[in-house]
Amino acid sequence: MRDRVLRWRTELLLAAILLGVVAVNVSLSPFYLRTGNFVNMFQLSIEKAIVAVIMTLVIINGEIDLSVASVMGFSAAVMAALHEGGSVPFAVAVLVALLAGAGAGLLHGLFVARMGLPSLVVTIAGLIGFRGAARILVGDRSIGDFPEWFDRLGQDPLVGRFSLAFIIFVVGIVAAGVVLQRTAFGRAVYVIGNNAKVARYSGISVDRVKLVLLTTSGFVAGLAGVLFAARLGSVRGNLAEGFELDIITMVLLGGVSIFGGSGTLVGVALSILIILNLRSGLGLANIQATTQTGIIGALLIASVLVPNLVDRFGRWRRRSGPAAMPPPASSDTAAGEVRPVVTDPNRTAHRG
């Protein structure tokens, strides 16, 4: 039992924070806990949340995809440009847009998986390139006038109070959770993120996993872009600009380690709820959206800083001297001194 608690301690902490935030919000507004409110809260950020799901797997795998926001814009632009051209039925335009997203992800995946380039750098290039491609397609204009069914799918609820995007999010996160925790593929994602060499030497096709993940990331970004366009009713060249940072914040706040190899979708779900409730509550308190972003930034830092400090304080209390660093593992250590390649919290915090 104690082991279980320890293993899920991040998620438990997040749940506690969420309860705290909701409690404060309820005290600010008695109507807070209504379903309608709950759904509304998601509305503005649902596309980000959808992408956060796949981003979680990508980061657990030890990679990162900074291009997602640009791919969102790119696929929306593809759809809009095809629609403007008028030669294809809109449904086909949407399909092509989704394929374009997947194609973008595939491109990144090939560079990362086959050529071995660091995903941080490859996807920065993608971030720049695909944003540019979006601008090529849409120029300075704003393209709208989408078919009514499309706009309705984006803006109106589909089932009960829940919009299509929301349903996609819920289905997506549950499916991804199952894949991650209960399938061989998910196991591979964790192991590769932890130590790709061991995975390779164990017969796991590391390249294939990375390729699949990055392609899926592109596809999901494409999907999110299309959904966003439906919600907005129009497409501009700067659609979803800057979203990547919010999305990554959602994932990291959820306890997913930037080094790869650990984290759960439960944590990310909680973190999304925290962020949304926090924004909602701050909005109730009349705090501006931009200030909200700053507060979330502080929360992100605190989510790692506070447990660190608590840990160190505890360790300091327990021994009389200062906490010392473990030496490199001697071959016959029975205690868990791991060669710091994997777990040192001070090691690089960015993908390579």
Partner: protein
Amino acid sequence: MSGTAAGPAERAAVGRRPRPKLRPERLRELSLLAVIGVSVLVFSQLVDNYLSGSFFNRVTTSMAITAVLAAAQTIVILTRNIDLSVGSIVGVTAYVTGEYLAAHQTTAPVLAVGLAMLMGCVLGLLNGTLVAYGRVPSIIVTLGTLAIYRTWLIDHARSRTITADSLPQWLVEFPQRTVVSFGGLDIRLVLTVAVVVILVLQLALGRLRWGRWVYAVGSNPDAARQEGLPTERITLGAFAMCGALSGLAGFMFLSRFGTITVAAGQGLELASVAAAVVGGVSILGGSGTLVGALLGALLIDLLELSLVRVPEISVFWRDAVLGALILLAIAGDFAIGKRLRRFWTSPPRHSSKPPEREATTDA
């Protein structure tokens, strides 16, 4: 660089491979220069009047800011960290300095620069403290401060914009000031400042003990800590330096654009990382040079500005092509660099442990 410890008999037999004079970093810098040269040649064919003085001036002025930021980022990356908040630091320092100068027109230029750099340094110190002493991964810290600093700026500015006409004359004219001219080619003051700062820092990193510590911490943080290096202070220093340089870039930004909105500097952080990486700085830390970052910035800005001038390529194509080119640069560099590095350092054919550094196929 044969790496075998040999006995008396074998020592003679092993002999010495002719040791090349070039270190891998010099090689990278040279290849960058080559690529820049080739690009100039190619573009001179595609664009009329490409090789003109005014274009040179444009590129060098624009590149000065990117170069300073790339250098700032490099110092942090060398310690195995990253600073995503540099864009926000640029925004804050540009804005506040502009604000101050608008209100105190007679401030000496040096003081203005100092103010910007001091502010940047303080912001950098906050980053560094959280990373070094709070043990929070730098990507998380700087993602957070990117938002926090920007939010602070928005709150502070309350939708007021700094406009060029409110600024002292010398500041507005600063980008034009020239140190020396060759015909139409001006060596501008901004460029000189950037280059001098970078060269001085490069020397410092090579000659000062603190500089070597920066490389050591990035190359093997655990060894550094074990050997008693003041790793926290080194990291803190790197972030402070990065902040100060970002402040300098903020000043340059202010002087270049004059009009500063609350969105100033947004997005510059990624450009700084891209420039550093193209310039040969390893994302894993411990290797790379500031001069390389400078050349990386030059290459990226050159490509960006050149593409605009090619008549066949519309404005909107610029970023797309730029992204593709960056990708090509990195890919090409990895492929060539790996081969060349193998040739230069000739690791033993079959070490019993695959060197961790070579793990390019595994993230």
